[in-house]
């Protein structure tokens, strides 16, 4: 078998499951073998999750985290895509705005925490704002480069068919740039999910990030800390898988012109 061979259907499921089981076994036996009283075993973590379900906290926390990410990421997409398309469409405008964007882009949203608290107080808006900041810049940058990479022959063909500039942007440039935009959105969603944890640690009293800090503050409850970490990982993976499915939509596939 070489790297080009298509794995069989059962293999696609079997190997990842096996690896996960092995990981859990390794974890369980290292805890048992080292007789540590600090690191919880997988069973203790499972009990911790069960306790959260019993108290009715688990679904509320997951729901709150997802809502904050949806709001922050949604706002970033709603503002970032039009801005990115515009800047990509008018390179002159891009030249003006780009330096500011490039300075703001590498600032971690976590560095914004003190300013965000002063601006929005301690609450949901601060968390949403931090998530928005994390997601906004990757989206804008992806849109700008997506639009500027559209081959000029596409635009000329569109113009020959008599499309007005708005039509050209909506019917030709946007679909052609869509693959890059989707990649940008996917990266932005990953960052939004990362920032959510940090944002919920300072500003609010629900959600998975809050669960980590709350479990830390409740004495020796590292089972809940690890449970929260695993939940963050699993839900993050699920979100990413959903996003990858977007690529399979036919109207999106049109833009992947370099693939066969």
């Amino acid at each position: 078998m070489n790297s080009l061979a298509q794995p069989k259907k059962w293999e696609q499921l079997f190997w990842p499951v096996l690896a996960s089981v092995l990981f859990l076994a390794l974890w369980h036996y290292s805890v048992a073998w080292t007789a540590t009283k600090v690191v919880p075993s997988p069973l203790a973590v499972e009990k911790g999750v069960a306790e959260l379900v019993r108290k009715g906290l688990l679904w509320r926390y997951i729901g709150d985290s997802l809502r904050r990410v949806a709001l922050g990421f949604g706002a970033a997409a709603a503002l970032g895509i039009p801005l990115g398309l515009t800047l990509g469409w008018y390179p002159a405008a891009n030249q003006v705005v780009n330096p500011v964007l490039q300075i703001l882009r590498p600032i971690s949203p976590i560095a914004w925490i003190p300013v965000a608290i002063i601006l929005f107080g301690v609450g949901d808006i601060t968390a949403d704002f931090l998530i928005f900041l994390g997601a906004f810049f990757p989206i804008v940058v992806a849109c700008v480069s997506g639009v500027s990479n559209v081959p000029s022959v596409f635009r000329r063909a569109g113009r020959n068919f008599g499309l007005t500039p708005p039509q050209l942007l909506a019917k030709v440039v946007f679909p052609a740039a869509l693959p890059q935009i989707i990649i940008g959105l996917r990266i932005a969603l990953g960052i939004a999910w990362l920032v959510m944890v940090a944002a919920e640690m300072i500003a609010v009293d629900s959600g998975l990030g809050y669960l980590v800090i709350d479990a830390r503050n409740s004495g020796k409850r590292y089972d809940l800390v690890v449970a929260a970490m695993l939940l963050i990982g699993v839900i993050g993976l699920a979100l990413d898988l959903c996003f990858r499915k977007l690529r399979d939509i036919p109207s999106v596939r049109w833009g992947f012109r370099h693939e066969t």
Partner: protein
Amino acid sequence: MRLKQKVLLFTFGWLALISALHAYLNVNWSAILNEYRPPERRKITVAYIPVTCQLTCPVTDYISKLSEHGEVFLPRLFQGFPEIKEALISNKVQAAFIVAPLAIALRSQGVPIKVVYLGHRYGSAVVVRKNGPIKTFADMRGRTAAIPSRFSDERLLLFRAMKVWGMKRGDIKMVEMAPPDVASALATGAIDAFSMGEPFPSQAELAGYGRILFQAREYWPDYMSCILVVQQDLINKRPEVVQALVDGIARSGLWLDKSKPHREDAADFVGRFYYNQKPALLRWALTKPIDRVRYTPLAPFKADFDLVRDLMMETGVLEKKIDFGEYTDTRFSDGARSETAWKYEAGMATAR
């Protein structure tokens, strides 16, 4: 060639100079050398945070360094209780000053520690914004107040006041915050009040944006918050070290309560060498008035701890009842009963 030699010489000289300066100024040699001592002679590490509830820790370290037996332990500064708790659980520190409810909670969760002594009495206060909407405690209803930890006496203090004013649990929204962060949070309006140990109430008062709503003793006679816990392992293996530690803390307590000049001296060296706070701030907290914080008597009493435990259960941070004897060891405080204050005045070269 000559230039090359010069550059090399200069480089090596520079490296030697900054290395020597670094070793002299930055490296904590006593902590490093301690690692190489045989286990039975190794000094223990004591964790503390920069609040006056734990002032006896740096005072003991400072004065004992000048005594004939030398320093009793190695103090280690932390910025919040979660970090101290983690250091305790992972056995990185052998003793620590923490809030009493946290000690009770950790013991009931199976962490092998024992309370051996108190850090102080009084010295916590509830502070509101000056000229803000809160005039009396009744105005606290529906407001947000910062507390150092859900396992803190400062939180229980608020509950005691709420009981007096006929409020229910949930009438005041409490948020956990690291003590050094509360002053700016109050100033910017992120919180309406805070319940903290000194010097943070003094800090808000001195800076002009905070007003003390009440001192802990108004709602809680014989109030205590920070206590000294020691690992059970250390008690079993080296009880004489624990006794020396408790003796030192007891002597510092007596010394601090002896006179105002002692307080002012302590404010000066603790602020400069330990807490990294302005001595003027500590001087305010320690002397205006002088019984704002007290450092005697520091022996743990059952009635005080039963009160804390029952309040913890009432407010839902402790599930099952745990007895005084299970989480305290009073033989060291009994042993320290005949200790006297340090014989030390500011500027003296040796202490006895």
